[in-house]
């Protein structure tokens, strides 16, 4: 509802203050990554250096954690893409018994506090005698990533006309051809956006991971250990900055892909 009037001063000030509140802590992360202070969080930083970036680059534990996080996020995203799209297609294209239940089911892992999902999955793994591994982390992450892909795909399916599919079939395309040449191009950007958000969510997840990881260390778990028992603050500063950059790039890309008329991308995490 854009309007031509000038905003009241109080509103402008309050909104600007809100923006500062939202952005200043993140800006601080970037500043501290270059601080030359090692022992404390001293402000203002006594000096600036790029030394700690080099130190961080030579830390094997950081690389291992990063590698595991990327791997888990990539596999979870693929699983979520397949399951989320299938479910979205079924729910939006046909009416069947239990349809409402399924749309509720998908949202459940994200609607319930992460700690509940974490404990439930842990006891399920224990019950089924599944040893903790990278795959248990992946399953945990996929569980709550599905909803992101599902939301994006459902919104797109709703806007895609079913007549297109019927037309393709009438013209003699088989099911696979219809999928490849009609459905996929129509939903591709929604899937890409959903996939990127799912990736970012998985890359960042810590609560469910603490219950399903066994003794493996993802980057968020590394970060959490550093938060609880700080060992090397400068390295943590640099890692924090790197994480911000890694999570922000997919967000900007997802925004770019869905910016025309879709609020589906980021509106529900």
């Amino acid at each position: 509802m854009p309007s031509e009037r000038r905003p009241p001063l109080a509103l402008t000030l309050a909104a600007a203050a809100g923006l500062v509140f939202l952005l200043a802590p993140i800006a601080l992360i970037f500043l501290y990554a270059f601080s030359s202070e090692e022992k404390s969080f001293q402000w203002p930083p006594p000096g600036f250096t790029v030394k700690w970036i080099g130190v961080t680059l030579h830390r094997p534990d950081v690389w291992q954690a990063l590698g595991l996080s990327l791997k888990v996020a990539a596999i979870s995203t693929v699983v979520a893409l397949v399951l989320g799209t299938l479910t979205a297609a079924a729910v939006s294209r046909s009416r069947f018994f239990g349809r409402e239940a399924i749309s509720l089911l998908v949202i459940l892992p994200i609607a319930l506090p992460g700690i509940i999902t974490g404990i439930s999955l842990r006891s399920a793994f224990a019950l089924l005698d599944v040893p903790f591994s990278t795959w248990t982390i992946v399953l945990g992450h996929a569980t709550f990533c599905i909803v992101i892909v599902y939301n994006n795909a459902v919104a797109r399916f709703r806007r895609t006309s079913g007549a297109l599919i019927d037309a393709a079939m009438d013209l003699g395309a088989d099911g696979l051809q219809t999928f490849r040449m009609v459905i996929l191009p129509n939903i591709a950007t929604a899937l890409l956006a959903g996939g990127m958000l799912a990736f970012a969510l998985s890359f960042d997840e810590v609560i469910v991971t603490t219950f399903t990881a066994g003794n493996q260390t993802t980057l968020p778990i590394w970060m959490l250990e550093e938060l609880v028992r700080p060992r090397q603050r400068p390295v943590t500063n640099v890692v924090a900055m790197a994480v911000v950059i890694v999570t922000i790039l997919p967000i900007l890309a997802a925004y770019y892909l869905t910016r025309d008329g879709a609020q589906t991308a980021g509106s529900d995490k």
Binding site: L112, I115, I119, I207, L227, G266
Partner: protein, 315 residues
């Protein structure tokens, strides 16, 4: 148009196309196969595990052996009502409520400005301003606040530069919310919660405010309403579903969080921490399960109320 196409196509060569064709002729089977994996995983494993967890809350723990007694009892729920545990529940719900209220108050001007006045570069800035903190790593955000609230950190520095350290000290001297320093007080925990969940309030609120027709506000002004009146009688009622939708996030997320109070705050437990401790070190699974029932019930009631207020259309 010269040759007549057969009304029914011959079966296509190749295994996959034939399989696809066959599936399409059985739409029920097709849908069943599409939802089968999700039903197996979420419907059976995940919900099964949830139910198993809830059932455990009706078991109790033998105080001498520390073993779980698998008999139906409400004893564990009775334990929730012990003063120490009741304190935890009360503390968490009050914190979640306070964070939600503060987030609504703080989100409103940001969402309203972004929806109504922001254009061009400002629009992009507001977008980044909400999306960056929304999607930045949760732990990085907590870490950022560790930097902000540290004794040698920027907040104390600002207060010192403004010669307002005495005000900060007086604030920290207050009972309950105060403490030795901001990073070990409820006020600190509250600030971090507010920061982390604020974007979740801004997004739906802004979506609701964008839909308020400006003509309506102008009409109210033309009919003699002063800004306060149009706010109270036009904007607020129309924005309320968005606000309630946002509050679902802020409330529920604060309710279940166990990392923020562990890192920023005093040593008093919040609900999530209690679950974590009972489940892990204390090994009292029934009590942990009983604790998790509380946010499920509270959120169930909350969602039921929110649905009646039309909050789901604003999501």
């Amino acid at each position: 148009m010269s040759t007549e196409a057969p009304a029914i196509f011959a079966p296509r060569p190749g295994l996959l196309p034939r399989l696809a064709d066959r599936l399409l002729r059985r739409p029920r089977m097709f849908v069943f196969l599409m939802v089968l994996p999700i039903t197996l995983w979420l419907g059976i494993v995940y919900v099964g595990a949830l139910i198993a967890l809830l059932i455990q809350s009706f078991f109790s723990i033998d105080e001498f052996s520390g073993m779980v007694v698998r008999e139906f009892t409400l004893k564990t729920y009775g334990e929730l009502l012990r003063p120490a545990n009741l304190d935890i529940l009360l503390r968490t719900v009050v914190m979640a409520g306070a964070v939600t209220l503060a987030a609504a108050v703080m989100a409103f001007p940001i969402a309203y400005f972004a929806a109504r006045y922001a254009r061009g570069i400002w629009k992009a800035l507001f977008y980044v301003g909400v999306m960056l903190p929304l999607w930045s790593s949760y732990l990085v955000k907590v870490y950022a606040w560790k930097l902000v609230l540290a004794k040698e950190g920027i907040l104390n520095w600002i207060f010192a530069k403004l010669h307002l350290t005495w005000a900060l000290d007086a604030f920290l001297g207050l009972p309950v919310i105060g403490g030795n320093s901001l990073s070990v007080s409820y006020a600190g925990t509250f600030l971090v919660f507010l920061y982390i969940w604020l974007p979740y309030m801004i997004m739906p609120l802004q979506a609701a405010l964008v839909r308020v027709p400006p003509g309506l506000i102008e009409a109210a002004a033309d009919l003699g309403a002063h800004p306060g009146q149009s706010f109270r009688m036009i904007i607020l009622p129309l924005a309320l579903p968005g606000m309630v939708a946002g509050s679902i996030f802020t409330f529920s997320l604060t309710l279940g969080d166990y990392i923020v109070p562990q890192i920023i705050g005093n040593s008093r437990l919040f609900l999530g921490q209690a679950v974590y401790l009972q489940h892990g070190t204390a090994g009292n699974i029934p009590l942990a399960a009983a604790f998790t029932v509380v946010p499920i019930v509270v959120m169930g009631l909350y969602l039921w109320g929110a649905r009646r207020m039309g909050a789901f259309d604003a999501l």
